[in-house]
């Protein structure tokens, strides 16, 4: 028997009795529960190991059939975008004078040239009171320890220079190994797995945002 918890302290006795009745019915198992558990294990055997990075899962997704829904009106919109894109591509493929190669990185780019190992980006966070700060994102399998930031030595600034592949990446700062905090200077995207929000960085090699 556990001691009454604070949040239950003011629960009326009739509520306690009622809750107990509900719980008794709620907790009864049903036929087929064991089979359902077996199906979970079966699916897990086909899933990537926890220690593997997300690339295996990502590759499997790209090569498997994925159901999706599209309203007819949106289909027309997609068609219009495709046609516009085709027209734009056609105009780009026409002979034009050579342009200088792209030289900058995505948000907070350092401005150095991109190379095969990725585009240089800089993460900056002001974190008063933090003793260690890291960046976790889809580029490091959301590992809170893998990519530590460096203290600037003055003030509360933490900085990290790294290279990222082109594309859209989601990330979050991790303070003292436990507190996940979005980047206040970046756009946010809902995290549909864990709730809350992650920050988004678009690494495209173009100058500035």
């Amino acid at each position: 028997m556990t001691e009454p918890r604070d949040d239950d302290a003011h629960r009326a006795p009739q509520d306690e009795h009622f809750d107990e009745q509900v719980r008794t019915v709620y907790r009864r198992g049903r036929e087929g529960d064991a089979a359902a558990q077996a199906r979970v294990l079966s699916r897990l055997q086909g899933a990537p190991e926890a220690s593997a990075d997300g690339r295996a899962r990502g590759l499997r997704w790209w090569f498997s059939l994925q159901p999706f829904e599209l309203r007819p009106v949106w289909a027309l919109g997609v068609l219009a975008v495709l046609l516009a894109g085709s027209a734009w591509l056609g105009s780009r493929l026409a002979p034009t004078p050579p342009e200088p190669a792209p030289v900058a990185a995505g948000p907070d780019a350092s401005g150095t040239a991109a190379n095969a190992s990725g585009i240089p980006v800089t993460f900056v966070l002001r974190a008063p009171g933090a003793t260690r700060v890291s960046v976790a994102g889809d580029f490091n399998n959301w590992d809170a320890e893998a990519t530590p930031m460096s203290h600037s030595g003055t003030g509360d600034l933490w900085i990290l220079n790294m290279r990222l592949p082109r594309g859209v990446h989601r990330y979050s700062f991790v303070l003292d190994g436990t507190e996940w905090r979005p980047d206040p200077s970046a756009p946010l995207a809902a995290d549909e797995t864990f709730g809350g929000h992650n920050s988004v960085i678009v690494v495209n090699g173009a100058k500035g945002l």
Partner: protein, 185 residues
């Protein structure tokens, strides 16, 4: 460490699962699957949707173990994912115009079968729950069914404690009024 006959804690199983130990994942599934499934069933009111949500929950949980912080229990971590999977499933169903209504088919959709007396009780509970909207049903099941504390519920649902308390109270009043046969003493 695996002592002979020793029961591993969830934290130990998680550490082994992170190292790729299949048996540790199976042990965590065996411990938590039934709780997850009953919650999803009562929340979604549909056996198939519930099983899908629970499968997705375990797959996402094990794929994202690197994000698991041991300050939270593994159960809370799972339920955080499960709540969001169930919300997504409910939203998908809403898009297909299939709404939760208080009707005589609610228990059939919930796939209630088995012992006759138990079936009857579960049918009546499913019917009473079906009259609640998702957010009230979610709060009620976490509090009354899973006996979570409000602070823990707030962390995993993203809803404030005062709002959760209000939802539980309203849901309790509703279920009490719509659960025929229960003793109102």
């Amino acid at each position: 460490m695996e002592g002979a006959g020793a029961v591993r804690t969830d934290a130990e199983c998680v550490a082994l699962a992170r190292a790729g130990r299949e048996s540790a994942r199976a042990e965590l599934v065996a411990r938590h699957h039934a709780n997850c499934l009953r919650f999803a069933r009562h929340l979604l009111g549909d056996d198939a949707d519930a099983e899908d949500a629970v499968q997705e929950t375990f797959i996402r949980a094990f794929a994202g173990l690197a994000r698991y912080q041991e300050r939270d229990s593994f159960r809370a971590w799972l339920f955080q994912i499960l709540v969001h999977r169930c919300r997504s499933a409910a939203a998908r169903r809403a898009r297909h115009r299939e709404r939760f209504v208080n009707d005589e088919h609610a228990a059939d959709r919930a796939g209630v079968r088995g012992n006759e007396a138990h079936v009857d009780a579960q049918r009546r509970l499913a019917s009473a729950l079906a009259g609640l909207d998702l957010e009230h049903r979610e709060a009620f099941l976490l509090k009354v069914g899973e006996e979570m504390e409000y602070e823990e519920m707030a962390r995993l649902t993203g809803v404030g404690v005062p709002a959760l308390k209000m939802r539980v109270k309203r849901a309790r009043d509703h279920v009490r009024a719509h659960w025929p046969g229960v003793r109102h003493d």
